[in-house]
């Protein structure tokens, strides 16, 4: 990786020192048009702050880029598809190239989708690129969201940008589903039938919503045209707006960066937009596009001709939505069949809870999390250095728990295929998942948290005792030990750059606080204990110095015979007495708002 030498602020000095350069031929050519535009738009003024803007480099920052580029590919391929696609449910008789469907009556939208696939050269390619891009768009957004979550990039000042991201995932889901419904083949019609049942099940207004969405009784003659409008106009406009705001905030707040030598909360270290990111990000767009085109050309997706036109009386076994709707599908499948019949009314909990509740819960929790954590820590500082997942074990545990719940639901979405592929009972799979969707996340939380703390211990080990060298030494008494080499200051700085919070003891009663305030404060303190009581405290400067001294004095050995007790840095001991060993902290904190993060 490259190392920084220059900073933005010394650019003028460099310029002053170098003689004025002769303009290159391209610049000479562009001079007049540029001058013309600048006199009218002031492009030089506008681009000045951005042209050498610095972006940090890390592979995980590419995930959001993948999402952005696949959306661009979606726009490009989508325009191509609209040229031939006919959003009409009018009944026509198929007379196209595909022999097996000839003579069948079908909707015009299905017929035009078949025409696109068989009679327009490159049509199938573009349709498949479009579908693959949609898959990638959602996958990349979710992966990007996980990166942001696990590294704490949602913390102040980026909470609002995180919310824009949540909005993007939600609109992306609906956008994908709307597109899936447009070919009006058997699978997309079956998906619509499911949505019809889902809408109907909304308590109180379900029937009205159904009649309003479908223009009457399912399937009606207008839903495809309406979804077309939603798919190519309404939602893309919203998504574009959200993306614009999302990126504007990234530019304004500057990108977060990982800890490292020379990197701190007040700077951003990386490469300039021009020319490095112009080439890297621009090139990466072409890479994403190229991969998607290759996928469209080589990997079949949604062969709409296989199952024929939509017929409400037909369905195929193994019907599945696209992967991103799998968790909702799973919730619907594993839900017990609860339904209340009160008087002349029917309350369809078996559909409403998993269909609407799970989506609501998922996105609600996702959106609420940054504010929840900020309430617990009361941290008002801006954060630009990303945390490693291990350094916030509770948050990481929550994230993995959510992923696990999502995964269980996802398995539920294919419970029939799990049963047939693994030769197990469908009923057993369903019953197990009903329990697992609640139990597995708890287990995942506990395991993840332990793994994080273990990783923190290994960091601590490196900080206090250095890196293992692999050299085993035998001392005069016959004991063996491994020699440790001290780590670099850069690594030590990197490992200790994260912020820590105290686990707070309950507050004493306080005349300044009302009972309600005190209760809330104590709830917060309880939450802070839940969050931080197990978290390993990073060593202090004095401890680091003492450890170094200890290492020097014993010439690096003595780890095996004595290292893990007596030096006060064992960090572990017997886990349970962890609070006493000096590496966990409970602090009384301050009475009210002033709870400063512990050092």
């Amino acid at each position: 990786m490259a190392r920084p030498a220059a900073t933005v602020s010394d650019a003028p000095a460099v310029q002053a020192a170098t003689p004025k350069q002769e303009l290159g031929p391209v610049f000479k050519l562009a001079a007049k048009p540029a001058d013309y535009i600048d006199q009218r738009v002031g492009v030089a003024k506008l681009s000045r702050p951005f042209i050498r803007k610095v972006f940090p480099d890390h592979w995980s920052f590419l995930l959001g880029e993948v999402a952005l580029y696949s959306f661009v590919v979606l726009l490009l391929t989508g325009v191509f598809l609209t040229i031939w696609y006919k959003p009409s449910m009018a009944e026509v008789e198929y007379d196209g190239t595909y022999q097996l469907l000839r003579g069948l009556t079908m909707s015009q939208s299905y017929e035009s989708s078949l025409q696109l696939s068989f009679d327009i050269r490159g049509g199938l390619l573009v349709r498949q690129i479009h579908h693959w891009s949609a898959m990638l768009f959602l996958a990349a957004m979710l992966a990007h969201m996980l990166r942001v979550f696990f590294t704490g990039a949602f913390r102040k000042p980026r909470e609002l940008n995180y919310l824009l991201g949540v909005g993007l995932i939600l609109t992306g889901l609906i956008e994908g589903f709307a597109g899936y419904s447009l070919p009006d083949d058997l699978l997309s019609g079956t998906g619509l039938r499911f949505v019809d049942g889902l809408i109907r099940a909304i308590p109180l207004i379900g029937t009205w919503a159904e009649f309003f969405v479908f223009g009457g009784e399912f399937p009606g003659d207008i839903i495809v045209a309406r979804l077309y409008m939603v798919h190519i106009l309404l939602l893309p406009a919203i998504i574009l707006g959200l993306i614009a705001a999302h990126l504007a905030l990234v530019v304004y707040l500057k990108h977060t960066q990982f800890a490292g030598p020379g990197r701190n909360e007040t700077n951003v270290v990386g490469y300039p937009i021009f020319p490095v990111y112009m080439a890297k990000a621009g090139g990466f767009f072409f890479i994403v596009f190229g991969v998607l085109v290759l996928m469209g050309g080589l990997m079949q997706i949604n062969p709409i001709w296989t199952y024929g036109p939509y017929n409400p009386a037909q369905v195929t076994a193994g019907s599945q939505p696209d992967w991103y709707m799998g968790f909702v599908e799973g919730a619907i499948r594993i839900m017990p069949n609860w339904e209340s019949h009160i008087g002349g009314t029917t309350w369809s909990w078996n559909v409403a809870i998993p269909g609407l509740g799970v989506m609501g819960l998922f996105f609600g929790l996702m959106a609420a999390y940054p504010f929840l954590e900020a309430w617990v820590t009361k941290d008002k500082a801006e954060h630009h250095i990303l945390e490693r997942p291990r350094n916030n074990p509770t948050r990481t545990g929550f994230g993995v728990a959510a992923m696990t719940a999502y995964g269980m639901l996802w398995i539920g979405g294919g419970n029939d295929l799990v049963a047939t592929q693994f030769h197990v009972s469908l009923n057993a799979v369903t019953y197990i998942l009903r329990v697992a969707v609640f139990v597995a996340p708890v287990l995942a939380f506990m395991i993840t948290k332990r793994i994080c703390i273990g990783l923190q211990r290994s960091d601590e080990e490196r900080l206090l005792h250095g890196a293992e060298t692999g050299i085993i030494e035998r001392d005069p008494s016959g004991a063996y030990s491994e020699r440790h080499a001290p780590i670099s200051q850069g690594e030590a700085w990197t490992l200790t750059q994260h912020r820590q919070y105290a686990a707070l003891m309950p507050a004493e009663s306080d005349p300044d606080l009302t009972d309600g305030q005190l209760q809330r404060e104590n709830l917060r303190r309880r939450a802070s204990r839940f969050y931080f009581i197990d978290t390993l405290r990073k060593p202090t400067r004095a401890e680091l110095e003492a450890a170094q001294h200890h290492g020097d004095g014993h010439d690096g050995h003595g780890e095996i015979e004595s290292g893990h007790n007596g030096n006060g840095h064992n960090g572990n001991g017997d886990g349970r007495s962890g609070n006493a060993d000096g590496h966990h902290s409970i602090e009384a904190g301050e009475k009210t708002s002033g709870a400063v993060p512990s050092q």
Binding site: A2, G262, N264, I287, G290, V293, Q300, S319
Partner: protein
């Protein structure tokens, strides 16, 4: 380490953020930016030339592939197929995708290689500034807003503001009202005429759902299941046909009468063990189609709700909550199966206004 770097790592006033992160938080001092390590292409001109050739070659291949795309588009017949190993694909489609995909990929990989190997790779430092506005800015904005508010006279003539809010809020009415025609209103009468009824009525023959051939009782074997439709569905087309299919589809099964439970109230709904049920799942409306002949179970392929056709269509597994509605049938003079009436309860998925008290429940007779 240059002076400049040192000052950067200490937070020398370029940024207003450092106050929030006290130095004492960090047990280790920032060693500052590490030295820049040159790449091979920085020190070895031959390596740089090689990288240049690589990038230029990648770019140079793009026009070749672009022309290949055009050739595939115009010259390759659409009827040719590749059938080799795992590839079973239309040749033209394959060539269009591979040429365009590879061309794009080469542009991308070339550009990234250029950036990584040949562009200057000295990292740069930019300073952050708090997202918060300066105190001055805030004060200015608040003062000017206050001034502007005074100038607008709204503070003295409060009715201006209140009436404006009222006016804007009232425009919500036209906004909402204009959507009232999104669909017909599902009043009690309309529900009765649409989602609560089907085209089944007394005397309508049961026909095969593909061939529309009437189903003769004597043609059904024990264990056989036939997907059916009402005979009069042939009169419909387009939207009405789809809507009718979404409700009227049925399954006709013949089971050994000794192996099934037929409640007393439904003794005359069947013909010698031939029973007829709605094919539309009571969960979210998929057409149910997976028949387990030995157990008399019918499984919905969408969400795996399982119904026992040998026991009045009761739910025995899965998310569906209500039994499959049964259609009372008999035979006409020629031995064909006909409906004795329409369905006695609404078919298909639940909705709020559905009166589910008349559905068949466990223990009913």
């Amino acid at each position: 380490m240059t002076d400049l770097e040192r000052s950067a790592s200490a937070g020398d006033g370029h940024s207003d953020l450092d106050v929030l992160h006290p130095e004492s938080q960090y047990p280790v001092a920032d060693p500052g930016h590490p030295e820049h390590l040159p790449r091979l292409t920085d020190v070895d001109e031959a390596a740089a030339d090689r990288a240049t050739r690589q990038v230029a070659t990648m770019f140079a291949l793009v026009p070749v592939l672009a022309i290949g795309f055009a050739v595939a588009y115009f010259a390759v017949p659409r009827t040719m197929f590749i059938d080799f190993a795992f590839l079973h694909v239309n040749l033209q489609h394959f060539l269009l995708g591979s040429t365009a995909g590879l061309a794009l990929l080469l542009i991308g990989v070339g550009a990234v290689q250029w950036a990584r190997q040949l562009m200057d790779d000295h990292e740069m430092v930019d300073y952050r500034h708090s997202a918060t506005s300066d105190r001055d800015d805030r004060e200015y904005v608040v003062t000017e807003l206050q001034k502007g508010t005074e100038e607008s006279k709204i503070t003295r003539r409060k009715v201006l503001g209140r009436s404006l809010i009222g006016a804007l809020a009232a425009m919500g009415i036209p906004l909402v009202v204009s959507f009232a025609d999104l669909g017909p209103w599902p009043t009690k009468k309309r529900r009765a005429a649409t989602i609560e009824t089907t085209i089944w009525h007394e005397g309508v023959r049961l026909v095969n759902d593909i061939t529309y051939v009437p189903i003769k009782a004597s043609d059904l074997e024990i264990g056989q299941l036939v997907n059916g439709q009402p005979e009069n569905i042939q009169e419909l087309e387009g939207t009405e046909l789809q809507q009718a299919k979404a409700k009227s589809s049925i399954i006709v099964v013949r089971m050994d009468p000794r192996t099934v439970q037929i409640p007393a109230s439904r003794q005359d709904w069947q013909v010698g063990g031939i029973l007829c049920y709605s094919k539309i799942c009571t969960h979210v409306g998929c057409p149910i189609s997976l028949w387990e002949q030995q157990t008399h179970h019918l499984l919905c392929p969408c969400h795996q709700s399982t119904f026992d056709l040998g026991n009045s269509g009761l739910v025995i597994f899965g998310p569906a909550a209500r039994a499959l509605p049964q259609l009372p049938i008999t035979v006409d003079a020629e031995g064909y199966l006909v409906a004795r009436s329409g369905f006695t309860v609404p078919v298909g998925p639940s909705y709020f206004e559905r009166d589910s008290r008349d559905d068949f429940k466990e223990g009913d007779n």
